[in-house]
Amino acid sequence: MREVAVIGIGMTKWGELWNKSLRDIYVETALMAIDDSGVDHIDSMYIGSMSSGIFVGQEHIASLLADYLGCAPVPSTRVETACASGGLALRLGFMEVASGMSDIVLVSGVEKMTDVGGDEATYALGTAADQEYECYHGITFPGLYALIAVAHMHKYGTTRKQLAEVAVKNHRNGSKNPLAQFPFEVTIDDVLNSVRVADPLRILDCSPITDGAAAAIICPVELAKKLKKPVVKIIGSGHATDYIAISQRKDMTWLESTYRAGKSAYEMAGKSPDDIDVFEVHDCFTIAELCVMEALGIVDKGKSGEAVERGRTALEGDIPVNPSGGLKSKGHPVGATGIAQVVEIVKQLREESGKRQVRGARIGLTQNMGGSGASTAVHIFERE
């Protein structure tokens, strides 16, 4: 396998972008990544998108977006693993470059979620769960994570306030990220008094509905050096699946796919959780960030709530998690999220993160998860 580096990144301001279409958002972002890398062409492209068919009634976006990016006839592939689509677009691009099949690959993600109303968006997101045995009974995504939260609170004594601490920390980080959808701080009381969605989760425990895209250019390390770009290597990649319905899992509080994907990525990289300086993880709901920390081995089982409460995962803590503001504050255009995590980690490792810079960060990890945890992609990056 050839060594692979990220040489360009692109991301624009996320939010409710009513004046921009799916293709506008995508092309603008992909061009940023191409310009940042300095390459004059790409050999292939991957696009993570969960549900363009429901959100904008448009399938076949791999070709649509290659066309509007002015890149046709390069091969272009859409990747779908629910909210992990972006992370898997990176993994497929990584495999293509590592294998020698292509040299310069655009890995990207996009979701245009606000062209439909709230009911339809809820429906679209629900399709990541088991339609016949979960959605049929009236569950929603906040509901699924609420079930995980109740089980975690019961098993480990995790508190309602500890969940709120995750949102407070991520909004504090996001307030330093000009590209975030909600770049402002919230207090514990704001979270605890926000609208109830699915008990015990409230609206400020939930990531929002967002329009956005993110893109990165990857190539062999040798080529990156010739281009004289800062070299951020992809040193580990892991992907795993789990039972799609949470009721089928032996322990609802344990994210097996995240554990397995993390294990593969750590092994490929020859690193352990202790070696990682900065984490970007999938906090689609506050409880998700806690379960992910445990499954990635950042903290022991049942100890995540306490770690957040003690400030260990804050920017200045010993295990900074989601310096970008996470899905909670930055926004969650589902297919784009996995690539936006890469954008943040590359900025952190290049020391371009401004007020939210984790000091001295050399090794970073992204964890991107689909559905209630039935898919996970984990990647580890190292600045040379």
Partner: protein
């Protein structure tokens, strides 16, 4: 809206609680599977799930999907039946304040929702307290 066939083919599970179990490792599956995810065996035989069990997690849905709008707020739980099978369903005939983990429940056959003005009336199982 999907054709009635999609609804119809789930009837054995939703009306009659049909499951299957692995002949080799004895694991029981609801819904039934063609291959055992535990041991890989394709030798599975038809069976039924137990009709009583306990709540292992629950939530109150305040913001529902559109077809459940007229029911909200309502409780949805994951129940572990007495035969070890776990499944999701609404918990009804119970005040939210009285709901608790480990609570004993039994399965009852109920209407779940309607598929719009001229669509199918969708039935299936729900959980009710069993004291």
């Amino acid at each position: 809206m999907s054709t009635p066939s999609r609804y119809w083919r789930e009837i054995p599970q939703r009306y009659r609680l049909e499951a299957n179990s692995c002949v080799k490792c004895k694991q029981k599956f609801f819904p039934p599977r063609l291959v055992c995810p535990e041991c890989g065996s394709r030798d599975l035989v038809k069976t039924k799930i137990a009709e009583k069990g306990k709540v292992i997690s629950y939530t109150i849905i305040r913001v529902p999907p559109s077809q459940f709008k007229d029911q909200a707020p309502y409780a949805v739980g994951v129940v572990e039946l007495d035969d070890g099978v776990r499944l999701m369903g609404q918990i009804v005939d119970c005040d939210f304040e009285d709901l608790k983990l480990e609570q004993r429940v039994r399965i009852e056959f109920r209407k779940l929702f309607e598929q719009g003005h001229s669509g199918i009336l969708c039935y299936g199982y729900k959980f009710v307290p069993d004291s």
